[in-house]
């Protein structure tokens, strides 16, 4: 077992910035979800915009929680001298944004 040691603070700060970048991404998801419900004009019924909004805000919530867990995992990996853990968070985000974008596009064309 490798003893824990304080990593170079530059790496600590880089890890922190990555975490903050994820937080901003989730804030952008929230803002996108709110805007969809507020401004998307998809006809008389609200449900398409509402579903887009709920999916986006949901993705944001997962990203917020995932960002913190990832920051923790990175911190302990750096302290223990282990390689950084892999994450599926960017995959999840990318997939969600592509699907939401396509659905939004389809609805706009369909109208």
């Amino acid at each position: 077992m490798i003893p824990d040691e304080e990593p170079d603070y530059r790496f600590t700060l880089a890890n922190e910035r990555t975490y903050l970048a994820y937080l901003r991404t989730s804030l952008a998801c929230y803002a996108g979800g709110l805007s969809a419900v507020q401004f998307l004009d998809l006809g008389p019924d609200r449900w398409p915009a509402k579903i887009i909004g709920i999916v986006l805000v949901g993705a944001g919530l997962v990203t917020t929680a995932g960002a913190f867990r990832r920051w923790q995992a990175n911190t302990s990996a750096m302290r223990g001298g282990r390689p950084l853990p892999v994450t599926r968070l960017p995959l999840m985000l990318g997939a969600t944004i592509v699907v939401v974008g396509l659905v939004g596009l389809l609805f706009s064309l369909w109208r």
């Binding site: 603070y9 700060l13 922190e16 901003r24 989730s26 709110l34 419900v37 917020t64």
Partner: protein, 102 residues
């Protein structure tokens, strides 16, 4: 550990500030989504903007203080990051409420 007077702490401070700006934008959107329809959403928007301004002020103050005395690993403390994740989660739940009740 050698002290590096480089730009990393500054970049980190700017990252915190951008995050606070994102919070402010969400607060303004919440406020706009509540206007004229629901007093609750308007109130939540105001709460989020106030919290975001407080976050901005706190981060700036911590940075100034730490720049004078401590090594610049100061912001990366478990509790600060826990609190920020909690705040953003809270804002997300407000937003979810706004989206559902809209």
């Amino acid at each position: 550990m050698t002290r590096d007077p480089g730009l990393q702490p500054e970049r980190t401070l700017l990252a915190w500030r951008r995050t606070a700006l994102g919070l402010i934008a969400n607060g303004v959107l919440l406020f706009a989504s509540g206007h004229g329809t629901s007093g609750v959403r308007t109130g939540l928007g105001i709460v989020v903007v106030v919290l975001a301004l407080g976050c901005w002020a706190a981060v700036s103050a911590v940075f100034r203080q730490a720049a004078e005395s401590h090594p610049p690993g100061f912001l990366g403390q478990q509790r600060v990051l826990q609190a920020s994740a909690g705040l953003v989660l809270l804002v997300g739940l407000f937003d979810l409420y706004a989206v559902i009740t809209r």
